[in-house]
């Protein structure tokens, strides 16, 4: 940002040019226009600027492209240059904006007095205190000052190390609850490496996931979502049309499991058994690749006690299933086994499976360089917390991590923090750790600061600030660098630049060009050579045979709230978890059989007691979890962290052992209940064609499911058909590619100023999302159903739209480009259109929507904010269509295919949504329809509404074939 502009006037200008707060109706727009003194080259009122930066919502390190309007970031998309995100981003990434504009962010430094109350202090006073405390501590002895942070990029690590060194300390620690310690341990045992390998699901034909929710939270979900849709796409393989076959072994039918062919329900911890049993079958059947280099004798010894029959007995999995998986895996041309279990032995099994079939280097590989470990080993963190408790630290700086919330109870982190004389907390929304800190400093949001990331070898992401800070916050690096004398870099921006200077030197050429390119492309992306690793089975001990506890608790990172960092973002709370469809709460999924045994029903609060403690969670009785397992997601149960997160649900971290995601548990119904809220009505389709599926065998044979038409029939017209002179916009949605991640939903919230309504609002049926992931269970009578039906449902933009002729005032009408337009300012709110909409995709504003300041700064100025009493709906992002058409008009050319992309299609990591012109048969959208003619269907097509959206049926393998 140019320096010629004060932040206040800049914000005022932003406000004047935006439509954010106004309401259709009568409120006058801003009446003052304040010019720049010197025009900012990055800000053109009315035209978005784009900044490449990096995402901080999980360790995957996706590249982002931030849309900045009038100096405000309004939308986050994937950075198309970035090899991980490749232009798409998950819901959590998009909700980063709500972290940036969170109304509960610490607005200014605060200090806690002896009484425990917080008072506002100035930055100068705060820094004076910090300096004196640090000075005293560093003089008191070595290692009396410490830093505890979340996963960080190389530059900030350098800064923190330099700071610690200047303070006579070496204690800089990084902690994050999900850092794949099990996989790192297994890799260290087998290959002598602690970094994470690279997975290529798209290179496999068969995939076995041992509890790895790779489409939700595991390692790099956006990348895996893209790979998985490639893997599942029907392809000619060895003479027949097939899709990749996927097995999910785990306690819960997660979104990932739902997209697989088969869910093998096992109790938590039993995944390892299945893995070894598969190995044992493969060994017996000689399906182990001869030239894999695996020591077969050692392997035989390892799997000796994992005979399929014995494992089947111990885990309850049919032997036949194990054999089938072994056969599929062993015979596949490219197979991949992954594990997301907390048991290191399961990772061991997965690595051995991949090695034994010769897939190392093909579907999974280590790269030659290994990035610096993002977080510290569990033992290191534990001994550090012990040191804290022992009073060995005088000043502790905590930033970017929330130990009080997410550390296992055995660490006793809260107690340890109390023993530290002076805790400085720096961050956004004050969380549980902040509640124990002596000094609270507002830290820049990642979108406001310079930083970098090295998520894997060859990928260097560069994060640049995309806008001026919203609050009186400072960058963490700047804060700590200002406390040391003669720092190597004055600011963290300089530190980042220095790191990149090194990279630039290695890359060669002029640094200025390199730096411009890096900032434009969002980083440095280089191809990396695959490392040749050798499997070493010598030191591997077979794990002890598994015995299932009577009832076990299984916790898994919530698809949106992850390790709890998403809980303060209303979008993420309001997105229904795809499988349970629950919003704004956590829940204990209990199998109906178990529920009967325990005598609990939906919404009854159950008390879950482990050796570490007790949590109370409302029950959700569903068949989506293994019997005798109770599944509770991580992410909720905050006692602080702002209005959206605090006092919602329970925190499973508090009852689980270090690094564990499961535990033996005793369950007691408390007799109380709390209503779990979902926007979902019924869980079955009742035989209606909403989400359709077919087996790959049917597709290969050229058949269509019984009672369905092979392709979309031509329109039946009673009246003369309307002509669309220019364009006729349409969409093709591949249900098979859709992974249910809800990224499209989040993108729609961001792009179209869709308000959130809170738990009560959802319960009252006021949810506003224009697009939703619909989830249906298969019905009992269905032959060969998929595990779950999942598909995005949005306005179908029908040609014979039932909603249009019933509107008395033409608020709903058909545009000249085939869209179902909704004119908000004309709407009188009869709601007849929604009554007559078979798809129920229209949303009514029951109240005046509210975005607590400064969340309103996120609003898209191209879209009107709808007032109370108005119906609203999806229009395929009409503002983007208009923008594209105006661009084409100005450049005197036709609109190019792919030039206009609605927010949902842009966000989709699996590229399930394609948008284009129906009148252009060469458009990617129409080609996708044509190439998958047998899979085309339209929702409720018997109504002859003639939707502009054509879905492609979901594909899965027939029962027993997978």
């Amino acid at each position: 940002m140019s320096s010629g502009l004060s932040r206040r006037s800049f914000l005022k200008l932003a406000a004047s040019a935006s439509a954010a707060a106004a309401v259709p109706g009568c409120e006058p727009a801003a009446r003052k226009l304040i010019p720049y003194v010197v025009a900012d080259p990055n800000v053109t009122p009315g035209i978005p600027s784009f900044f490449a930066t990096i995402c901080n919502e999980c360790p995957a390190g996706c590249g982002l492209l931030a849309t900045v309007r009038e100096g405000r970031a309004t939308h986050l998309d994937g950075n198309p240059e970035d090899p991980i995100s490749q232009g798409s981003i998950c819901a959590r990434g998009q909700a980063g904006l709500q972290g940036l504009y969170n109304p509960d962010r610490l607005p200014h430094p605060m200090s806690r007095n002896a009484g425990g109350t917080l008072t506002r202090v100035s930055w100068d006073d705060a820094m004076k205190t910090v300096n004196s405390k640090l000075g005293a501590a560093s003089k008191a002895g070595k290692d009396r000052v410490a830093f505890l942070g979340g996963a960080q990029g190389p530059s900030l690590r350098d800064v923190m190390s330099a700071w610690a060194a200047a303070n006579n300390s070496s204690r800089v620690l990084y902690y994050s609850p999900f850092s794949n310690q099990g996989m790192r341990e297994a890799a260290e045992t087998l290959f002598g490496r602690r970094d994470l390998p690279v997975f290529r699901i798209d290179q496999a034909e068969v995939l076995i996931s041992f509890g790895a929710n790779f489409l939700e939270t595991w390692i790099s979900p956006v990348e895996f979502g893209r790979q998985y849709s490639e893997f599942r796409a029907p392809k000619e393989r060895r003479g027949s049309t097939t899709i990749g076959r996927a097995f999910y072994v785990g306690p819960r039918l997660s979104t990932t499991a739902a997209k697989c062919d088969e869910w093998i329900a096992v109790a938590p911890g039993a995944e390892t058994e299945i893995g070894f049993a598969i190995l044992s079958v493969m060994l017996k059947q000689r399906w182990v690749s001869q030239n894999s280099g695996v020591d077969l004798d050692a392997l035989a010894k390892l799997v000796a006690s994992y005979d399929a029959a014995a494992v089947g007995k111990r885990t309850g999995v049919p032997v036949d299933t194990i054999n089938r998986m072994a056969e599929a895996f062993g015979k596949a041309n490219g197979a991949l086994a992954i594990s997301g279990s907390d048991d290191p032995a399961s990772h061991l099994a997965a690595f051995v499976l991949n090695s034994a079939t010769g897939n190392f280097g093909k579907t999974v590989m280590f790269l030659q360089d290994a990035p610096q470990g993002a977080t510290n080993k569990a033992e290191v963190v534990k001994s550090f917390v012990d040191d804290l408790r022992a009073g060995k630290i005088d000043v502790l700086v905590v930033a970017g991590t929330n130990p009080v919330y997410s550390m296992p109870p055995e660490y006793r982190a809260a107690e340890a923090l109390q023993k530290v004389p002076f805790v400085i907390w720096a961050g956004g929304v004050p969380d549980e750790t902040a509640a124990m800190a002596n000094l609270l400093l507002p830290m820049h949001h990642p979108l406001e600061s310079w930083r970098d990331r090295n998520p894997r070898a060859g990928i260097w992401g560069l994060g640049q600030p995309v806008m001026q800070p919203v609050f009186e916050s400072r960058d963490l690096g700047d804060i700590v660098l200002s406390t040391i004398q003669n720092p190597k870099w004055a600011t963290s921006a300089e530190a980042v630049k220095a790191t990149w200077q090194d990279l630039g030197t290695k890359a060669g050429g002029s640094f200025d060009d390199f730096w411009v390119k890096a900032r434009r492309e969002g980083g440095l992306f280089q191809d990396q050579h695959v490392a040749d690793v050798k499997l070493n089975l010598a030191s591997v001990q077979a794990p002890a045979p598994y015995t299932a506890p009577e009832i076990s608790l299984y916790s898994y990172p919530h698809i949106f709230l992850y390790d709890g960092r998403g809980a303060d973002k209303p979008w993420l709370q309001e997105l229904p978890e795809p499988i349970s469809q629950i919003v704004w709460d956590d829940w204990a999924e209990i199998h109906p059989d178990t529920a009967r045994k325990l005598e609990v029903t939906d919404n009854a609060i159950v008390e879950l007691k482990t050796e570490f403690g007790i949590i109370q969670v409302p029950a959700l009785v569903r068949p989506t979890v293994m019997p005798d397992v109770i599944a509770v997601p991580f992410g909720l149960g905050h006692t602080a962290m702002g209005r959206y997160a605090a006092n919602v649900g329970a925190n499973p971290f508090a009852v689980l052992g270090a690094g564990r995601m499961s535990a033996s548990v005793t369950v007691r119904p408390t007799g109380d209940s709390r209503k779990l809220v979902t926007p979902l009505g019924k869980s079955e389709q009742l035989g209606r064609s909403i989400v359709e599926a077919m087996t790959i065998e049917q597709l290969a044979a050229g058949e269509v499911p019984e009672g369905h038409e092979p392709e979309v029939k031509g329109p039946y017209e009673f009246y003369p058909a309307w002509d669309y002179p220019k364009h006729k916009w349409g969409m093709t949605i591949d249900v098979n590619a859709c992974i249910g991640c809800s990224s499209c939903v989040a993108a729609c919230y961001a792009e179209n100023n869709v308000p959130f309504v809170g738990k009560e609002g959802v319960d009252n049926g006021h949810i506003m999302s224009w697009i939703r992931i619909e989830r249906f269970y298969p019905e009992a009578h269905e032959e060969n159903p998929p595990l779950m039906y999942l598909a995005p449902i949005l306005c179908q933009q029908c040609d014979h739209a039932p909603c249009e002729p019933v509107c008395p005032v033409f608020a709903s009408y058909h545009t000249e480009e085939g869209l179902n337009g909704q004119i908000y300012n004309r709407c009188v709110g009869t709601r007849y259109c929604e009554n007559n909409c078979p798809y129920k995709v229209r949303r009514f504003n029951w109240f005046l929507p509210e975005w607590p300041s400064p969340l309103n700064l996120q609003l898209n100025p191209d879209v009107a904010v709808r007032g109370a009493g108005v119906m609203e709906k999806c229009t395929f992002c009409i503002q983007r269509i208009q923008y594209g058409e105006l661009d084409a008009l100005q450049e005197k050319r036709a609109v190019r295919d792919g030039e206009i992309v609605p927010a949902c299609a842009q966000a989709c990591p699996a590229h399930a949504i394609t948008f284009g012109d129906i009148k252009d048969p060469a458009s990617a959208m129409m080609r996708r329809r044509d190439q998958n003619k047998l899979r085309n269907y339209q929702i409720l097509s018997e109504l002859n509404t003639q939707p502009a959206v054509v879905y492609l049926r979901d594909l899965h393998s027939a029962k027993g074939k997978a």
Binding site: S6, A17, P24, E27, A29, K32, I34, P35, V38, I878
Partner: protein, 174 residues
Amino acid sequence: MNRIMLPLAVLLLIGGLSTLAFSQRPWAPRPDVEQPIPFSHRIHAGVNQIPCQYCHNLASRSSEPGIPPVSRCVGCHGNKIAGAPGSGIVPVTRAWMDHSQPPFEIRWNRVYTLPDFVRFTHRPHIFEGIPCQRCHGPVQTMDRVVPVEEINMGFCIDCHTERHASLDCVSCHH
């Protein structure tokens, strides 16, 4: 009979007219807008023939026409910038010299506003060669800009119909 009907008709007429008069019309122009600087469009655009888009340089590519930054003023006024005390250029000088001070910013008063549900964008209008005066009136003759046309939907629609421009509702309302 007239004794009843005539007063009734008058009453109805008065009622109707007052409803019209008092009904809210956010797009209605406000004829008297004082500006912080006695900036004259007549001198700039009329006498000196400076093209509109020299200062409002975004009009051809953005929805907004662009309010010229102070630097644009300084660019021409150059060394005469200081001006005599009390001259109209003084606030510009102050804004230029002392731009970190919010009190010295220039706060233009908006003359034309559209309600929030109208998504007007200048870009296609400039591209189609519509003279600025079509909507803004003969600005080059005005010392202080006052609106000439009442920019309501009827005004837009008349011109769109005449020029066969888009009459699709979503063009402006979304």
